[in-house]
């Protein structure tokens, strides 16, 4: 029987050389007359070990990594195809501590299956949630999602079931499910990983959302920085259509649902749901005032569910295993699991799905293993460019929506970016303002002008022009932005700025800022 060898096709794994490793393995096997089947999977999310190669053995999968093409001959010599020992041996994949400690509900199949094989997907409990949903009354689907306690994973943490109910209750001839796959936050890649590694679960989640709310058309709005995710999602949709999972008669239920992928055009603000809808309609990505809510008047004025990729991908397991099963994970009002994305200057970077409740310190010190540079951790930005910087003093904060809010922070899309002690926090504050200035949609003055002013004020502190007064000005400016902005781009930029200023005041002294020329 042909030997099965698994190598990721995930874009980060490929950027680390996975394609070259696959070619080298195929060539070496051919030279040695060994019959192998190479299966390209998503990534397990252990990026310091990528490209990670797995072998199917009677004892389960055995992993090796990080593999370079130069290692391949030695791996064959060591008999890795039967699990032989080699310096790159990692043992059984499932036993690698970083994986073993996780609770993979949403990412259950990512890195295991061929992303574009519907047979593989079904063999790993795929479509089970949808099949159960098709037997339920739509209102009961909504109830299950509500009971599960699932909150939006895009950042705002709004209860998904309540959003669905609003759309379900809105009378209209046409409704839409829009999947927000714009994932613009630095330090996040969960949406990308699941779209590349397990695209059918997103399709399944969107169909369930459609059936629950009476929507028959779905859009996946993905950023242009993710060409591989776009290609894989598009292929998966075609395959799902060919298998009659999508189309006029979803799995023979008589219900219709179809999906189209759309590509953004490099605007961070288009991750904001109303800006996204304008963009999808072919307009400038300017934020809309609410009300009306997208649930009442969304895409083309029709009732629209806008949900993040991970929110939608969490729905199939909820329908399959039940609301209680999901709700039993987590803490407080943060129920279920959250894929934490560990990024920046860390020893063990990657995706760690776990129940809510780990402390920031456990994540940074134990799971991420501290910094890659080996220097002390100084600051951790949680929740993307609009999230606060946390000093070590606040590492006891548990990963939970309310706990982070209480500490003037947010978990956002659950990306954490770790910095070592070489970080200049005044420079990070300046960057937050600069980013807001670059990405502002221009609708409100505090955001559009305030952010530009913010960078100028920081530059003045750096140059030593009356720094005390400038710091007061910066604080004032943040207040104005926080309370005078229509959306969270202008409204939350004060989080990184003020947290830098509050927790690292000594960095806000005159000194040269090492900044890349504009």
């Amino acid at each position: 029987m042909s030997l099965k060898i698994f190598i990721p096709l995930d874009s980060a794994s490929v950027a680390l050389g996975a394609d070259d490793v696959a070619t080298a393995i195929a060539k070496a096997a051919d030279m040695r007359g060994i019959d192998i089947t190479l299966i390209r999977t998503g990534s397990r999310g252990l990026y310091w070990l990528e490209p990670m190669v797995e072998i199917a053995t009677d004892n389960g999968r055995i992993a090796y990594g990080p593999v370079t093409p130069d290692d391949v001959d030695a791996l064959f010599d060591a008999g890795f195809i039967t699990g032989g020992e080699h310096p790159l041996s990692l043992g059984k994949t499932e036993e690698i501590p970083f994986l073993k400690k996780q609770t993979r509900l949403t990412f259950a199949r990512c890195g295991i299956i061929d992303p574009l094989s519907p047979e593989d997907y079904r063999a790993h409990d795929g479509w089970a949630g949808l099949e159960k949903a098709l037997k339920l009354d739509p209102a009961d689907i909504v109830q299950q999602v509500t009971d599960s306690g699932l909150r939006g994973r895009g950042g705002a943490g709004f209860p998904t079931g309540i959003k669905w109910k609003t759309v379900a209750d809105a009378p209209a001839d046409q409704k839409y499910i829009v999947c927000n796959a714009d994932e613009g936050d630095s330090g996040t890649f969960a949406d990308r990983m699941i779209m590349e590694g397990e695209p059918f679960v997103l399709i399944e989640g969107m169909i369930i959302a459609g059936i629950a709310t009476g929507a028959t058309k779905g859009y996946v709005y993905t950023r242009s920085e993710y060409p591989d995710a776009i290609r894989i999602m598009t292929e998966a949709i075609d395959i799902a259509r060919a298998h009659k999972v999508l189309g006029p008669d979803v799995l023979g239920s008589g219900k219709a649902f179809d999906i189209e992928v759309r590509m953004g055009a490099g605007a961070y603000v288009c991750g904001e749901e109303t800006s996204l809808l304008n963009s999808l309609e072919g307009k400038r990505g300017v934020v809309r005032a609410k009300p009306p809510l997208p649930a009442h008047e969304g895409f083309l004025g029709k009732p629209t569910v806008v949900n993040n990729v991970i929110s939608l991908c969490s729905v199939p397991v909820i329908l399959d295993k039940g609301a209680d099963f999901y709700r039993d994970f987590g803490m407080g009002r943060s129920r279920g699991t959250i894929p934490i994305q560990i990024a920046g200057n860390v020893k063990y970077g990657g995706l760690f799905e776990t129940a809510f409740g780990l402390t920031l310190g456990e994540i940074v010190d134990d799971i991420a293993g501290g910094t890659a540079t080996g220097k002390p951790v100084r600051a951790v930005q949680v929740g993307g460019p609009l999230g606060a910087y946390f000093p070590r003093d606040l590492f006891d904060t548990p990963f939970d929506y309310e706990a982070f809010a209480k500490r003037d922070g947010l978990i956002g899309h659950a990306g954490i970016v770790v910095f070592d002690d070489s970080v200049d926090m005044m420079k990070q504050a300046r960057f937050a303002m600069e980013f807001c200035a670059i990405e502002s949609c221009g609708k409100c003055t505090p955001c559009r002008i305030g952010s530009v002013r913010g960078t100028e004020v920081v530059d003045k502190i750096a140059r030593g022009e009356d720094p005390e007064r400038q710091i007061a000005l910066l604080t004032d400016l943040c207040q104005t932005m926080k309370f005078g902005s229509l959306c969270a781009l202008g409204g939350f930029t004060p989080y990184p700025v003020m947290s830098a200023l509050t927790h690292f005041p000594n960095d806000f002294k005159p000194h040269a800022l090492d900044i890349a020329a504009e």
Partner: protein, 159 residues
Amino acid sequence: MSLSQTVEEISTRVTAICDDLAGLEGPLLPILHEVQETWGFIPEGALQTIAKKLNLSRAEVHGVASFYHDFRHNAPGRHVIKICRAEACQAMGGDAIANQAQRKLGIGWSETTPDQSVTLEPVYCLGLCACAPAAMVDGKLVARLDNDRLDRMIKEVRS
């Protein structure tokens, strides 16, 4: 290539693109992407044709094209290097890499070298934040970028 395109040629090709995509709900972004895919930027002459096909004013189409960072208004170099400037890459020395790229190429952001070989663009996150710093060269992703790798990359595209 683009410079030798006549107004009529652009109009004919853009008309075909519009005919192909006008049936979509909200067709303007897909059309602009296709136009940029064809020429590497949005030629001035394309705006009027798109406007006519979609029943919009030229100003509206221009307003949309100019809102998004992706859409270029001038022809790029033969190669495009995008370097991530966002936080996770900063944490791994991304700023130094960005500075080095500017110095080596002798250009700033969104500029093209005088020999038309390379355009350098900033990008804010490529989803490679766990293996930073990251870049994209002609659509191909590069992770754990360091100075040596950058030098080799620049040499390759300029040869």
